[in-house]
């Protein structure tokens, strides 16, 4: 299986995302923001960082990049897509996921190991977890407060599309403690914390994050 990892100007976590994909047993394929080419990958990770310096709004410029036109089109046909941190912001700006990410309520950038509860194990990126399972992965963001209008929130909650929630309250003030959400078909997932930094006990707090990458491998292999 081939997992594509996009690099935009200002992306920081593409190397770790590629490493996580390889650790899970996939081939990591580098995708470039300026190309109209997904290189035949079976899934795409939009990694974290500060694409285009967060100019205009976090993720706003990247959501219009040539590679994102291809991702949006392929995602609408069912290509699994995972957006992490800035990648989550990009997927929201591109209209692939509902809601938006805004400045942390306390204004401070937050960098810490964060406990999350897996609220849905029925997405292609979380099939290897059990619902209610708690995982610990790093959170590092300044604009991680998830917001959406009341109708969107009711839809997300009603359809079980809140995928991850902060345990012990959202440190960034996110609505309903939401850390990650999914598309209606469960093939597009975005979250603010960083599972790709928690795949190796040498470099992360746990190996819990690897589960997202092994989950998509299982889902694609089973398809």
């Amino acid at each position: 299986m081939r997992i594509g990892v996009i690099t935009f100007p200002g992306t920081l976590d593409d190397a770790d995302a590629a490493r996580a994909a390889r650790r899970a047993g996939a081939d990591a394929v580098a995708l470039w923001h300026g190309d109209h080419d997904l290189r035949g990958v079976d899934a795409v990770v939009v990694p974290g960082g500060f694409s285009y310096g967060d100019y205009l709004r976090a993720g706003a410029i990247a959501s219009q990049a040539p590679i994102m036109r291809e991702v949006v089109e392929a995602a609408r046909r069912g290509l699994p897509v995972l957006g992490i941190c800035n990648g989550f912001q990009i997927l929201c700006e591109a209209g692939l996921l509902p809601g938006a990410l805004v400045r942390n309520a306390g204004l401070h950038f937050i960098c810490r190991d964060q406990t999350l509860r897996v609220e849905s194990a029925s997405t292609v990126w979380t099939g290897g977890f059990t619902t209610g399972q708690e995982i610990v992965v790093p959170l590092k963001s300044g604009e991680g407060r998830y917001v959406a209008d009341a109708a969107t929130l009711a839809e997300l909650e009603g359809e079980g599309r809140v995928v991850f929630r902060y345990v012990g309250g959202a440190p960034n003030g996110a609505t309903a403690d939401i850390a990650g959400v999914a598309s209606a078909d469960g093939r597009i997932v975005g979250l603010m914390p960083h599972p790709e930094h928690a795949i190796d006990p040498l470099t992360g707090p746990t190996t819990d994050g690897l589960g997202l990458f092994t989950s998509v491998l299982g889902a694609v292999a089973a398809a």
Binding site: R57, A105, L107
Partner: protein
């Protein structure tokens, strides 16, 4: 501008800073963005609104107005 229901912690920080420079009577500050575009006369209002709604603002969290000067 951030929609009224969106918490604006930057605006709140500015409000607090105003009291620190000795100004009373400012109940609330909301912080937004202002863009100045130099456009051809041929660009109609509909296009300007499309520019605002599709790129310059995020309609999920922001309201906007367009003004020709």
């Amino acid at each position: 501008m951030p929609k009224p229901e969106i918490l604006d912690p930057q605006g709140q920080a500015v409000t607090r800073a105003l009291t620190r420079i000795g100004i009373d009577g400012v109940a609330d500050v909301r912080q937004g963005k202002h863009f100045e575009l130099e456009v051809d006369d041929s660009l109609d209002d509909e296009t300007l609104h499309r520019i605002a709604g599709d790129l310059l603002a995020n309609p999920v969290i922001e309201d906007w107005t367009v003004r020709r000067v």
